[in-house]
């Protein structure tokens, strides 16, 4: 059938199974919005307060559901407002399709009103991007974009569309979406044999699960793998939830804010099995002194991750779930008393703990959230101390339950991401754990949550400071607190109420449970302002450049 470019875009989205998109209108996308209004039954459009919020929401939707997140913005400032969101998705390998309008084809390259070369700008932060120059390319490009976003290592794809193309007419024929082949690399049998040889001879294995293992399929295989191998398991921040934190083999997070057990285990293991993890500097710290006694077996879908940051002895390239299946089918059950005894000894001697003095403790609030939700909620975070406390003190037991900007570390990510996560999982409780600094960055999205009746709970761990910055200044800059004070006197409860949300103040430990219960029962957008001490710190911490075994802990 003959359709306008704008209608073809909407039809292609429907074809790909898109039911929700996040966006913000403007001149260059008027035709697309007009077409969207005709297909409201098929596609729900969520109008955010800011395009950055739309990008984070699409990202949160994708992380929580595993489907492609879609966002839409107009040319120029609309497009540039997406940039932080696209970069955030890129760094954490999130499948996303970002659609931008642009000026008419004939005006491209002339510095026209609201023209920006968004394809050029996003080249280093997308898996791929397209500029459409012919209406007949629209449908094939959209189909390809969804495929690229999901295939192999997922990532964001941007499609830039000049306005006149959205008005032109072309033939549209429905296509069944192509089957997504996760990895082009079939798991190589020789690699599996070599890996099995390593697994069967090692004495002190440690499994390190990253974001690539954080899906339901992979998590199931990982559990079998770890139990068969009788190997302790640590997770990177992106891996949290890939392995149940309640499991006896779990050692806690690894890296800069890892547990002593995980960091000691990495230093003393003789085989480190990295699964869907990329050895980022936040994990490895001093690369020369990382896992000095270990052979490294690296399992990843992206060949470029092999030998990029850490050199490995053996690599298996492929979809993590398939690789683990192949290993599990051949692996014999191991017995491993001595190493596990050492691990358990560390776990007993060095549990994560915190000083109970000084009023309301952020750790306690997070523990209570875990208790009340049974680990069943989706937890989104912003970036800073609250993010790390969440990673440490909430026991993530299921994949896709922590939504956090690990790679880019984007403050202001969490609220938008919670909106996306909630829309993708209407039956799940969604909680955004925030710092006051991060919350202030994008709190405008409260308007979105309220408008769409999204019962999201925003827990602000309010230290009236850019806490993580303050902590570094305290520990490494002789307490010179340059520009990290946030004593701005903003009343977050009133702010919440002004947006039509419910606000609670929380100052005393005894009230925590009660307020959290009320917030959950309210079934509305709720902001809980928790007043915590500004000198509360995140421990353990590995000082910059040190080996991960040399962590600083608090004297409790």
């Amino acid at each position: 059938m003959k359709l306008t470019g704008a209608e073809i875009i909407v039809k292609c989205l429907i074809e790909q199974g898109v039911d929700t998109i996040f966006g913000y209108p403007g001149g260059a996308v008027l035709n697309i919005y007009d077409a969207l209004s005709k297909y409201q039954k098929e596609i729900r459009h969520i109008l955010t307060s800011h395009e950055q919020g739309a990008a984070h929401a699409a990202d949160g939707y994708a992380r929580a559901t595993g489907k492609v997140g879609v966002c839409l913005a107009t040319s120029g400032p609309g497009a540039t407002n997406l940039v932080t969101g696209i970069a955030t998705a890129y760094m954490d390998s999130v499948p996303m399709v970002a659609i931008t309008g642009n000026v008419n084809l004939s005006l491209l390259g002339k510095d026209s009103f609201q023209e920006v070369d968004i394809a050029g700008i996003t080249m280093p932060i997308t898996k791929h991007n397209f500029i459409i120059r012919d209406v007949n390319e629209l449908a094939p490009v959209f189909r390809r974009a969804f495929k690229i976003a999901q295939e192999g290592r997922p990532g964001p794809v941007l499609i830039d569309i000049p306005k006149d193309i959205t008005a032109q007419i072309a033939e549209y024929v429905y296509h069944e979406p192509e089957q997504i082949i996760k990895s082009k690399n079939r798991v190589n049998n020789r690699d599996i044999q070599d890996a099995l040889a390593l697994l069967e001879t090692c004495q002190r294995p440690l499994i390190c699960a990253g974001g690539g293992a954080n899906s339901y399929g992979a998590a199931e295989e990982l559990l079998t793998f770890a139990e068969t191998l009788q190997a302790p398991v640590t997770c990177t921040l992106m891996g949290l939830g890939a392995f149940p934190a309640t499991h006896p083999l779990y050692t806690g997070m690894i890296g800069m804010h890892g547990t002593k057990t995980s960091n000691f285990a990495a230093t003393q293991c003789d085989l480190l099995i990295a699964i869907g993890a990329r050895f980022s500097n936040r994990v490895v710290s001093n690369a020369k002194r990382f896992a000095p006694e270990a052979q490294i077996l690296h399992i990843d879908i992206d060949p470029a991750e092999i030998n990029k940051n850490i050199r490995c002895q053996k690599a298996i390239i492929g979809d993590v779930t398939e690789v683990l299946q192949a290993l599990n089918s051949k692996l014999a059950k191991s017995k491993r008393d001595e190493w596990l005894k050492q691990i358990n000894d560390w776990k007993e001697r060095f549990p994560l703990k915190y000083n109970q003095e000084n009023g309301l403790k952020p750790h306690y609030v997070i523990e209570k959230i875990y208790e009340l939700t049974g680990g069943d909620a989706i937890i989104a975070t912003e970036v800073g101390q609250h993010q790390i406390w969440t990673a440490q003190f909430y026991k993530f037991t299921k994949p896709r339950t922590l939504i956090s900007s690990g790679g880019l570390g984007t403050m202001g990510f969490g609220l938008g991401a919670s909106i996306g996560a909630k829309l993708g999982n209407p039956d799940k409780l969604v909680i955004n754990i925030a710092g006051d600094g991060s919350f202030r960055m994008n709190c405008i999205e409260l308007a979105t949550a309220v408008e769409y009746n999204l019962p999201i709970i925003i827990v602000i761990l309010n230290n009236h400071a850019l806490g993580m910055v303050r902590q570094w200044q305290d520990l490494f800059y002789d307490k010179r607190f340059a520009q990290s004070d946030l004593n701005r006197g903003t009343d977050f409860v009133k702010l919440a109420e002004a947006y039509g949300a419910i606000g609670f103040n929380l100052t005393r430990t005894e009230e925590v449970e009660d307020v959290l219960k009320k917030a959950i029962a309210a079934n509305k957008t709720v902001v809980i302002n928790c007043e915590i001490d500004r000198d509360e710190k995140v421990f353990p911490i590995v000082p910059p450049g040190e080996a991960i075994e040399d962590l600083i802990t608090e004297e409790v």
């Binding site: 050029g120 080249m123 500029i131 060949p303 470029a304 092999i306 030998n307």
Partner: protein, 172 residues
Amino acid sequence: MKMDNRHVISVLVENQAGVLSRVSGLFSRRGYNIDSLSVGETADPKFSRITLVARGDEHILEQIEKQLNKLIDVIKVETLDPDSSVFRELALIKINAQTGARASITEIVDIFRAKIVDVSSSSLTVEITGDESKINAFIDLMRPYGIKELVRSGLTALARGPHALNENEEEV
């Protein structure tokens, strides 16, 4: 080519707008050193071939190849072995050539099988093709006369023998 850690990498790409900036952007972003880059259509206008000369140890070369392979527009990447490849570069050199110097310049041009492609009352322009060392040697010999302008195409290369880097491994 492996001399002083230099590698000649041949990259077959989709002939798409932006593909050159994707490739060059990758090199600058990741801090890979690049000595030269040349690009042109293949026999099939749907594809282009980029020839890169890059510097780095084998780990860097491994990363360069893998990162290039991640680009969607890249179809194939191959590092060419100098022993089984043909490397060529073209240079145009405008030389100060007062009447007295012309004869000796022409003599050197002949020895190098180069070509004089433009003549004016005070200059000669020479075209020379060959591998890098031949061109470097020629340039060194021309310096005493005074080089007014110089342009080099950057290395281009093909593997010897019937092997082809085409998408379907056949001559396109």
